[in-house]
Amino acid sequence: MTAALARFAGTRIFWPIVLLVVLLVINLIAFPGFFTITIKNGHLFGSLIDILRNGAPTLIIAVGMTLVIATRGIDLSVGAVCAISGAVAAAIILGSPDPGNPGVVAVAVAVSLGISLVLGVWNGFLVAVLGIQPIIATLILMTAGRGIAMLITEGQIITVNSAPFKTLGSGSLFGLPVSVIIAAVIFAFAALITRRSALGLLIESVGINPEASRQAGVRSRGLLFTVYAFCALSAGIAGLILTSNQTAADANNTGLFIELDAILAVVIGGTSLAGGRYSLAGTLVGALVIQTLVTTVYTVGIPPIATMVFKAAVVTAVCLLQSPATNAAFARWRRSLSIRAGKGAAAS
């Protein structure tokens, strides 16, 4: 039992889970009804459901980001892709004579996801074919992307009044919010396809040593295209959810800073930015930690404006706890403890 616990304490997912539990306990102390989930009109209500629903877009993007980061890459453009995807969908729905028609919404969703995919392929092209550093390659789209979204919305905030489109962000299915179900499906899809096939292994091998894996016969170019396209696609889906939730496409603010949240979720989850081994479960915990943190700020009664300071504190804490220097210090401390215990035993 203790051996299993010790082994668990050694895994990279240990600290994030501890953090999540600590945050949840703080919430429970501050607000005893925190864990209550009630059913009203067949829908589930409660703080936990809120965390899941608000965290869904970040989680969806973080899943794509995990795979990109596993290839030793990074995608800074996801926020801009969110804005573009939302803007395209809103423009199509608004431009149609019948915004409430499910067919129109389906076309809008399909077109904006198609465009997201193209943007992902563009990132993949810059990284895989031209060999540009991922952080810079995606910086281009991050800078230009919001401009493009502005171009689509013509600088306006487009309000969307369409019942089927609204379902994406705030509807529910089987009592659960639709966005949570979408996030779960994407998470399960990514987990199954990368962990039940060799794909995950290949992605990790590209991340650990691109040249060696190429010589071993891994088609790294195709893999890079795939992960960037998948990441942009998930960003597109998140953008649709965000736009639907706000019932408006705002080129400036849809998905603002979401790339940073998604990267944080991945890093908190224990996936190294240096590429290689990745953990989707860790990313799930990381995304939940970030959303719970925001919720905690509200329940504990800290002014919401201080959220970012808390985020900074948590990020710093997690990074420092996971750093090699801290691990070495811990190891030294443990050794000194055992030496002292040994001396005590000898003396008595």
């Binding site: 990074i74 800078t143 502005m150 940073l260 930015l273 002014p303 750093s323």
Partner: protein, 350 residues
């Protein structure tokens, strides 16, 4: 650098006859080498681009070629110049600093709120510079001692700085301190009807100091060495640890100073100012020919980068009908061109 030496050495006979076709070929070869070198090539291309854009602007719009338009480029972008100088140091070591925009805003809002509380500008300004340098020091220690990637460490600093902005004040604080306002609004005549502000003087001083430090000091050489190969730097016995921390301190200091220049410009502090300015600074540095992997680049290149961004902004203002979001698309397109150019230049080298 090395390919100049790889050229076949001239035979004694042809070397004595200056002006022969051989010498001309060699001169042309040297020019080609300079253009292709990862050190000078991108900077020269940026300089030509700047001139080209300027000529395009001058032929399209009346009044574009006036001295005041050129001086205004510096007046409007003084804060970005200082920011880009700090960013150049960080990027030369192969790092990145995402926190500069937020630190700029923090510096502005602290300045505004302290001045509002009746502090003297002579106390406030040094205090801000010390504060932001300390923030840079913390980031540097996180990067070096705890081996946190620069991206994440500076991201945390960005959250911290932006969060502190909101905590200090959600609303815009205007500055009414007479000394500060006088300093901000003073115009230095440059002859004719052209005049500039003190922020331009400060920015130019920062640029000159940075050039001297990077080109002629031990610190500067260590910065380039870390960017070239950190491992080799350590093995050569260079003070890598100290320098790596110091570049973040420099960047923090520059961001703080840049915040003060920004308040000179706007005469207020606001928590939402300068969102995304870190991207402009990074873009200016990249367009200025500094390699993001570190090791190659000049401060003067970054100055050119800032000026290119400034000229584009000016042209869009002159055009009148173009919306401001075109700026972002143009900057993105320029970034793309320059990154591909760098890629081509360095690929030929290696």
């Amino acid at each position: 650098m090395s390919s100049v030496q790889t050229h076949t050495p001239p035979t004694p006979g042809s070397a004595s006859a200056a002006g022969t076709p051989n010498a001309a070929v060699r001169a042309a070869g040297r020019i080609r080498d300079t253009l292709r070198s990862p050190k000078y090539g991108p900077v020269l291309v940026t300089a030509s681009l700047l001139i080209l854009v300027f000529i395009v602007g001058g032929t399209r719009y009346r009044g574009f070629f006036s001295a005041q338009v050129i001086v205004n480029l510096f007046v409007d972008n003084a804060y970005l110049l200082v920011l880009a100088v700090g960013m150049t140091f960080v990027i030369l070591t192969g790092g990145i600093d995402l926190s500069v925009g937020a630190v700029l805003a923090l510096s502005g809002i602290i300045t505004a709120s302290l001045l509002q509380a009746g502090w003297a500008p002579g106390v406030v300004i040094p205090l801000i510079l010390v504060l932001t340098s300390v923030l840079g020091l913390l980031v540097g220690l996180m990067v070096h001692v705890f081996k946190v990637q620069p991206f994440i460490a500076t991201l945390a600093a960005m959250f911290l700085a932006r969060g502190l902005c909101y905590v200090i004040s959600k609303d815009s604080i205007s500055i009414t301190d007479p000394v500060f306002v006088a300093l901000a609004q003073a115009r230095i005549p440059l002859g004719g009807r052209v005049s500039m502000t003190w922020s331009v003087v400060i920015a130019i001083v920062v640029v000159i100091v940075a050039v001297i430090v990077l080109q002629y000091s031990r610190l500067g050489r260590t910065v380039y060495a870390i960017g070239g190969s950190e491992q080799s730097g350590v093995l050569m016995g260079l003070p890598v640890a100290r320098t790596k921390v110091l570049v973040y301190v420099i960047s923090g200091f520059c961001a703080g100073l840049s915040g003060i220049l920004y308040t000179f410009y706007t005469l207020s502090g606001y928590s939402l100012t300068a969102i995304g300015t870190e991207l402009d600074a990074i873009a200016a540095v990249v367009i200025g020919g500094t390699l993001l992997t570190g090791g190659y680049g000049f401060v003067l290149g970054s100055v050119l980068g800032v000026l290119v961004l400034g000229v584009i902004q000016t042209i869009i203002t002159f055009e009148g009908t173009l919306s401001s979001w075109w700026t972002r698309i143009f900057i993105g397109a320029l970034l793309l061109v320059f990154i591909i150019l760098q890629k081509v230049l360095t690929a030929r080298r290696r």
